[in-house]
Symmetry: C2
Subunit: 371 residues, 2 copies
């Protein structure tokens, strides 16, 4: 088989010995492909079995297995690609996907339509880190949410995204909320003298999500928020393919894949390479030091994968969230660099002088840092 | 707040003391709802915060927390229901959803359109357990797969489902495969003198999956196979709402939610109550004693949840897979009972006298067991 017709995936497997690791890796080669005893296979089916190309011991009980898959297994089907990557193996403990060859992603997908450069262009901000907050909580009425959007925008914040739990509740129905918040943000811009982008949450059922997307665009939203693990990974991708606005991805319901050190998909691969390939222009992830258990090293790895060269795909903005408050903004920019969107929620709402001042202080720190 | 306007969810949390457990449970009440410091909340937003109604110590470090959520959080949105259930909490270790009050599921969904009774009616089989096999492997050409379907059908097997990795590969494109396999199954029925149902795999991108479903129906398929965690949980539900044919659900890519004893969603809740509510007429799950680590107790709990009374929703067939071979069929029926579909793959393909004989032996054991 020619090398162009395969793609390679690195798995981490837990095993007490090389022979056990090899056995597990060889099971992956079968489980993720033909899923049948090898002795029953004909010549043409045998070509579809994964091939173990390398097996190395990383640390005690922890092995890295490089497996090569035939591209004919997936055709051009992204869903089937995810299935080959981790479909049945998700049902086994001790298997974690660590990396995927870049080319299969750039052949299967177009990546983000806007990316870092596109979002910067909409804001006309060339270099500094960007500020973001969440419009919340669920339960407020439309006018109350719009008032908050107005104050954040008046303070000059770069991006206001809906809380990912705001959908179409009676307290603030989707269409009315988007219309009111777009107006409020535009009004606030006249006070700040700069652009503020508003990204409503469109996450909902597949039969409605495309309609919500169109409504958001029609009502003048500047981008959208979606939780791809709830709405569907490929629904995000199909929206990205329309190239109409930036898409910010929220990690709700995705943690089961990423938080186990010996199972799942490495967060830098999932939130970094995979969600970027599937069209996220900005990816929210749980930051270290906050309510979520994640190391700074992993956060840096996610940042790197979102920004790194990946063939011809646009880079995406990392959006660390959690553990960042208005007192430690510079610390996080100095750690993560300017190609970052800092998402701060609670701490801005708690500012003793109100939301508008919280937003303008946030902006000042980011602008000063750039100098 | 009236009790009709809330629904309750039981979480298992890991904690060293009651006060720690209480703190975690109270965090869930906030994290899954308003996600903002409570001191910033107005009166109407406060009603949306979850309420901890009970906290009991089950065994060392393992607590059960009963949380009541306001139904206004979800409206009629199933996606948002999953978000409230386990959106941000999926990003935390040590939290597992154990149970959900039945009524919220029966209010939000219609459940399976066919269920156990509907599948039995299509087959005209009143009492005995049903037989099922997987048509595979990927890599075979359409004519080879159709030949296998013909032999299984000639042996009188009840259900033939596509392998979940068969999609639209060049080796056997979707439309041609379905047409050929439907013809082959109908031809085989003339040898066996009984019905065999064929369920092709329609799992693919959201923009294509509804078309594949229609094509499968048009070409005479008797049901469909879908991997809801790959295709989208609610895409399965939207297909079920059409009530056109039974849907068999495959667990690919879902294991990360269900295999961790201290994280995720209990398998009997997820595959049992939730997938049933979302329209699966039959649910494949990894059986104990096979290639997957799962206890017999958990398998029995999944069976129970699929079959139990759940308000007005139809019961669904459990489909244990893995660990079942042609030598131990009666053992599994005696364990799981007749309201079960036994899925056997590899062991039938390995039968020394071929697929047709393997299928007719399988049928004979199920029929004899009924007597």
């Amino acid at each position: 088989m020619e090398s162009e017709s395969t793609f390679s995936v690195t798995y981490q497997v837990q095993a007490h010995s090389k022979s056990e690791a090899q056995q597990i890796a060889e099971q992956i080669c079968v489980e993720q492909t033909v899923e049948i005893p090898l002795q029953t296979l004909s010549e043409n089916a045998l070509q579809y079995v994964g091939t173990l190309k390398g097996l190395t011991n990383e640390k005690e009980n922890n092995w890295h297995a490089d497996i090569e898959y035939n591209k004919r297994l997936i055709g051009e089907d992204i869903t089937q690609f995810i299935n080959v990557l981790f479909g049945n193996s998700s049902l086994q403990p001790g298997i974690r996907v660590l990396n995927i060859e870049d080319t299969v992603l750039s052949e299967l997908t177009h990546g983000p339509a806007f990316g870092i450069h596109g979002i910067r262009k909409l804001l006309n901000v060339r270099k500094r880190a960007l500020s973001c907050t969440a419009l919340k909580p669920v339960g407020l009425h439309t006018s109350e949410l719009a008032e908050r959007a107005y104050l954040f925008s008046s303070g000059g914040i770069d991006i206001i995204k809906d809380d990912h739990g705001l959908t179409n509740q009676e307290s603030s129905p989707f269409r009315a909320r988007i219309a009111a918040c777009v107006r409020a943000v535009r009004k606030g811009e006249q006070n700040s003298g700069k652009r503020t982008l508003y990204f409503p949450n469109i996450t909902t059922s597949p039969s409605i999500v495309f309609h919500r997307f169109d409504e958001a665009m029609e009502l003048g939203a500047d981008g959208v928020l979606i939780s791809p693990q709830l709405a569907g990974l490929e629904i995000m991708y199909e929206l990205a393919e329309k190239s109409r606005c930036p898409i910010m991805a929220h990690p709700a319901f995705s943690g089961s894949y990423t938080i186990h050190p010996t199972h799942g998909i490495a967060p830098e691969l999932y939130y970094g390479k995979i969600w970027r390939s599937l069209g996220a222009d900005a990816v929210i992830y749980p930051n270290t030091g906050g309510r979520f258990e994640i190391s700074e090293q992993t956060c840096r790895a996610i940042n790197d994968q979102l920004r790194a060269k990946l063939d011809n795909l646009n880079p995406s903005f990392p959006v660390p969230a959690g553990g960042i408050d208005r007192q430690n903004i510079s610390k996080w920019i100095s750690k993560y660099g300017n190609e970052t969107i800092l998402l701060i929620g609670g701490s801005l709402y708690l500012h003793p002088e109100g939301i508008k001042n919280a937003a303008s202080e946030f902006q000042k720190i980011l602008t000063d840092y750039e100098q």
